[in-house]
């Protein structure tokens, strides 16, 4: 059966070998249900500079290297050539040489990027239609642009809205199919020739193991953090609240009231800084709480106010929690015991339970048990404890995400190396173009500089020499 049949449920029993990867019936698709995706949502709340850096990482590759290199060549090099204090060459020569750099940078970007981008597109296209092996095969989760092109080819006059809907639907359908394949321990990828092949068992088991290992590492690290950082820190802070209840209540209630009444939370930060100075000789824990408030962040005053309000509400809630109530801890030892018990019940025990379930799942993977058996075990564990930390953990979905990430990263690596090879091959052309363009550019734009230089200068000298000879003769 062809992979397209698996993906789109097409009956193609009599299908012939074909080069075109698929022509699915897009009209039969329905719009998928959209859930809140925190991965996408968080983007809207990140500082612009961090969003920019994420974009840099996502687009990292040979094109980026070429552009950074060219910026150095075109913008920085000329300055240091023209105004090099160590150079004994005359200024005209330096200016003439300096202009070679931007010309060289433009040519490098035009030729190298000009060739690298089509090659990158080729790699994407080949990955999407199954030309490569398993490591770079995207036939089960094709790119948006690839699906868009396929739909446009089938429906040339489709409206933009309809196209968007069909693309979203198609992508959701592919995701669903991939998860079903994982649930059946049978990942079948497509080739551009129309044939299909099954993902090797070793690779598949590796994927399963990696998902579980990452989850285990996270849980273990959280447990360590809880035991060694969070609990001691909470005990220290709670002890301050216990011994300085009135002082803490007064200071933080006052700050909270002032914050609630203003639209300029930065002024409250100034107030907290002032208070920190005034209380510099008091309990270090009080200063640490001031630092926590000062470290609150927001991309605009409204967000900053929300972040600071949340912190102050938390502080006042903690003061009540540790000092009020029916039977508040009376001594430091009581308080430490109270916090340890609380943390054990609400954090440590759930994390330990998560670790034990994950370890059991890992054991089942190593015993090559079926996905159905592993997921049934997970379901039973989670169902017996409604607040289990693995309630939202969907093993097959996680495997699907990891597979997609791995393929994406492999393609990124392959693209970077392809770009490097292409740039190297293009280099003689870039050099030749520079030698050809540069004198012409200088003659046209800076004739004053250009005329004095070789070969024009040589020509003048030769002419002069000829004139002298003529006079002599």
């Amino acid at each position: 059966m062809k992979v397209e049949s698996v993906k789109f449920g097409i009956n193609n029993q009599a299908a012939k070998r074909q080069r075109v990867a698929y022509k699915p019936n897009f009209t039969a698709l329905t719009t998928p249900k959209v859930d809140v995706n925190l991965k996408d949502e968080i983007k809207n709340f990140m500082p612009p500079i961090i969003k920019g850096m994420k974009r840099v990482t996502d687009n990292m590759g040979e094109v980026q290297n070429i552009i950074i290199n060219a910026l150095g060549t075109g913008l920085v090099a000329p300055i240091f050539i023209k105004w090099n204090p160590l150079s004994k060459t005359d200024e005209d020569t330096r200016t003439y040489s300096a202009w070679r750099q931007p010309v060289s940078a433009i040519i490098a970007v035009a030729t190298q990027v000009g060739f690298t981008i089509p090659f990158n597109r080729m790699v994407d296209r080949l990955a999407n239609n199954g030309y490569y092996d398993e490591l770079y095969n995207k036939t089960l989760f094709q790119d948006k642009t690839y699906i868009e092109k396929a739909i446009k080819k089938q429906y040339p006059y489709i409206s933009k809205n309809e196209l968007d809907r069909m693309v979203k639907t198609q992508m959701a359908k592919q995701q669903e199919n991939l998860i079903n394949m994982i649930k059946n321990d049978n990942i079948v990828m497509g080739r551009d020739t129309g044939e299909t092949f099954k993902m090797s068992d070793a690779v598949y088991r590796n994927l399963q193991n990696e998902v579980l290992q990452t989850k285990l590492n996270d849980a273990n690290s959280e447990l360590n953090k809880c035991l060694n950082i969070t609990i001691p820190k909470k005990i220290k802070r709670a002890e301050y609240y216990r011994t300085h209840t009135d002082e803490a209540k007064n200071i933080f209630t006052d700050i909270k009231n002032k914050l609630d009444a203003t639209d300029a939370p930065k002024n409250i930060k100034k107030l907290v800084k002032q208070l920190k100075k005034e209380h510099k000789n008091k309990d270090p824990e009080l200063l640490a709480i001031f630092d926590d408030i000062l470290a609150r962040r927001g991309n605009n005053p409204e967000d900053l106010k929300i972040a600071m309000q949340a912190k102050l509400n938390g502080i006042l809630r903690d003061i009540d929690f540790y000092t009020a109530g029916k039977n508040p801890p009376k001594t430091a030892e009581d308080l430490a015991e109270f916090i340890k018990n609380w943390e054990t019940n609400y954090r440590i025990t759930p994390i330990k339970s998560e670790i034990s379930v994950l370890e059991k799942m890992q054991e089942m993977v190593n015993q090559k048990q079926s996905m159905t058996a592993i997921e049934t075990y997970l379901k039973n564990q989670v169902d017996s404890t409604p607040t289990h930390r693995l309630t939202k953990f969907k093993f097959s979905k996680e495997i699907s995400n990891l597979l997609q990430d791995q393929v994406k990263n492999n393609i990124k690596a392959h693209k970077q190396l392809t770009g490097l090879r292409v740039s190297l091959l293009i280099l003689p052309l870039s050099c030749w173009l520079l030698n050809w363009t540069y004198p012409k550019f200088m003659d046209a734009v800076f004739p004053n500089l250009s005329n004095k230089k070789h070969p024009n200068e040589i020509k003048d000298l030769v002419n002069k020499a000829n004139n002298k000879t003529e006079v002599k003769s």
Binding site: V36, L38, E41, I42, F45, M46, P47, I50, M53, K54, V56, T57, D58, M60, N65, I68, N69, G72, A77, F80, N84, L86, S87, K88, D90, T93, F119, M122, V123, Y131, Y132, D133, D218, D292, A295, R296, R297, G298, D303, L304, I306, A307, A310, K311, K392, D405, N409, N410, A413, H414, Q416, L417, T418, R421, L427, P428, K452, H454, L461, V462
Partner: protein
Amino acid sequence: MSMISPVGNKIKSINRWFSRLPYVQNTVCKKFQDTRANSAWIAGLGVTSIVLKDGFGCYLYVNQSLNNKEIPEDKRKFVAALDLANGGLMILLQILMTYTISKKVFQEKMFNKLFGKKFNRQASKSMQAIMESKEHLAGKVKGNQEFHKAFANYKDSAITALGTLTTLIAATTVGKRILTPFIATPLADKTKEWMCRNDKPAKIHKDTKNTYDTHTSASEKAEQQAAANKLNIVK
């Protein structure tokens, strides 16, 4: 990319052959799976790419200069020496800058100084509070591991981007374009001496003898001469 079929097929199959190389599959692809842990390696790959191109470019330029009949023979070796000194220095300084800037200790310090406040516990708590205050996200963020994963993902990306950008800029801009020009010219004299160690003394043709005045540019001289001619001053 539309290509004539046989050429296109050949390019595609060469490209696939490269993708199957054990080094690519077992080393390069693996390094790209964890860009945060391997940010120095990835930045190094970027610099290697530029160094390789510089090396090849240097070879082409030196070769071109040595065989360029339009350059006077007595100056040809100096021009080539300048190209060689330039190329060699560029490569050396880029490697040196990469190995200093991309060091983990240095990168960590720089990251904490520049962006640490944007990713500490309070920054994470702030973002959770802000997101929770939005109607469509209320009750879905606090304590959700998806949030922590996404937040950590942004931190990893920022670390990788900083590592890659600083390494590339240090290598290609500071090393190659600021330090190299300062050292290249004096070094070119030494390189020329080395290239000419077995040469017989070159005869300088009277017509191609360097007539540049290092203090007054040729254009200024011409202007002075023109002014002098106008005033009928005989030099």
